[in-house]
Symmetry: C2
């Protein structure tokens, strides 16, 4: 195994030290594994907190900043953060208006965020949660009861984060997050498995001419394995699954996401096919992201997330954001 | 070979179609392979044009926009664009104040940009060129007389692009670009070779425990091959080579660049080590970028670029930029 690391045990701490050095806009508590805005909590603003296993960068720490998250809690690679971490983050990020947890639907994450909410409740910190479960590939998985949470997490964090900046209440921000999740669907396809630093070998075996259909972001297998095919056909498989679950029409936001090891030139090839598919269905891509936003270490492949927009969500999407991994105009 | 493509022959055109659909801020001429700002040339502003083989995305087309490039000319994968392409781009981007070519030092690119400059001259379009040759790993290479041009290209395009927006003359903008190049050095290390769509197999053979020291961005070999080592040691090899060539002190800008297939978490581990190395030498990292900016398809590994800043270059670096791959505050 070859990785740009010092030691499999220190990857998360070493990377957080790098984030601290790279981003003066962040306050990184390396021992406690909490990433906060350097500017501190804004009184009266709902604080958005997310977290989950590491290995999905830039998710979540790369989305801490104005217009998105107030704090991120990275766990070990592919391992949920713990309730104490979330509690400490909640205390630090709370501006008095309460805290919204954005939780990807994985059993460990769900249980730990629930426990953290109880601990916050004992301290008088109001907490609401949005559960993200956008991945239509599998109903239940190795790590999940119900659908997995993947690409829509980025959209929920962006749109709910924008609403929080306006001074909206905890209930309103939570509702916006739930609405984004309800309007979003995702599907992923992998060309290779990922290699975790601890294991040092691929998380599943995939032949030289096979692709994994409906893959998860932790190297968990998908719903089928097929022969490698042109991008157009792979996109059709993914988009048919999305469209079957949530018929696509009107204005949509598309995220074509690289799983970590995919060249950007290939993601643009995929985006062209997604765009063509949606035009064929009568939907219009009015907003889009192409790049690595929620990854699975060095996995080659892509996921596509589609969110049905309305005017209000479009406006919140367009609102300024200033984070290490997502930023646009004030 | 598994790639997210439709056909090895159509990768560049398909990806450009994707860029066109993804970025309304760009005007993409797919048949002629030219990427321009949708807003058109600004009268009196020097136009910056760059180009080179595809496979290095987001370079260069991802850097077209306010504060950076006016046009990009992508060639086939790892193949120089042609003079006609550059001539057409020059005609379209010229706002009457002349055109600056930013050329990475590879023999094909250099010859073709020279020929394009002659063609422009015949049409009365003033052209100057900046040759980027920042890679200290090899003196001459398979594709180069002299040092190769790598990561500093991003810095030259950003800083010269910022100066061009102020209405500076062609000579002034060219001089700023040359200054950035003179103050910058780069070095790359690969854990894996890349796979081109046409060849379908790694461009060089690297054992499961070997790394390529001083690797180029076209899959060309480096200057040595060693056993895999902790990130700290690999960073020291790269930074010693940089520091030997250009002693590092004062304020510096650091680009820790992924070669396309490297997880972001590993790039942050590398950045922490680069930062520690520079502190040890008495230099201060005052500006930085961590991510995939000049890639080599799916190659795993990193390059590091260091630029010695002064106040003027820092100010130009901080100036607003609005491109698909690099954007910050107006």
């Amino acid at each position: 195994m070859k990785k740009l690391i010092n030691d499999a045990d220190s990857v998360v701490a070493d990377a957080l030290a790098g984030m601290a050095a790279a981003h003066p806009s962040l306050r990184v508590d390396v021992p406690n594994r909490i990433v906060l805005r350097a500017s501190g909590p804004r009184p009266g603003k709902v604080a958005l907190i997310s977290g989950g296993g590491s290995g999905h960068e830039p998710l979540h720490a790369g989305f801490v900043g104005y217009g998105m998250l107030d704090a991120a809690c990275p766990g070990e690679i592919f391992t949920s953060p713990v309730p104490d971490q979330m509690l400490t983050a909640s205390r630090s990020a709370n501006g008095g208006a309460g805290v919204l947890y954005v939780v990807k639907n994985y059993t460990g994450d769900v249980l730990n965020f629930e426990m953290a909410a109880e601990l916050c409740d004992e301290e008088g910190i109001a907490v609401a949660s949005v559960l993200v479960d956008d991945d239509v590939a599998v109903r239940d998985s190795l790590y999940t009861a119900g659908r997995r949470g993947t690409g829509a997490t980025v959209l929920v964090e962006k749109i709910a984060g924008a609403l929080a900046e306006t001074g909206a209440s905890l209930a309103e921000v939570a509702l916006a997050g739930e609405e984004v999740n309800a309007r979003s669907r995702s599907f992923g396809i992998a060309l290779t498995a990922c290699v975790t630093p601890a294991a040092g070998r691929p998380t599943f075996a995939l032949g030289p001419s096979q692709v994994e259909i409906g893959v998860g972001i932790h190297g968990e297998p998908g719903c089928a394995r097929t022969a490698a095919a042109p991008a157009r056909e792979l996109v059709r498989i993914a988009m048919d699954a999305v469209h079957d679950d949530l018929p696509l029409s009107g204005d949509v936001l598309v995220l074509v996401n690289g799983l970590g090891g995919t060249p950007l030139i290939e993601l643009y090839v995929v985006f062209a096919e997604v765009d063509a598919y949606l035009r064929e269905k009568g939907a219009t891509v009015t907003r889009r992201l192409v790049g690595n936003y929620i990854t699975s270490l060095d996995m080659q492949g892509f996921s596509v997330t589609v969110c049905r927009l309305d005017d209000r969500l479009t406006e919140l999407w367009d609102a300024p954001v200033e984070t290490p991994a997502l930023r646009w105009g004030r």
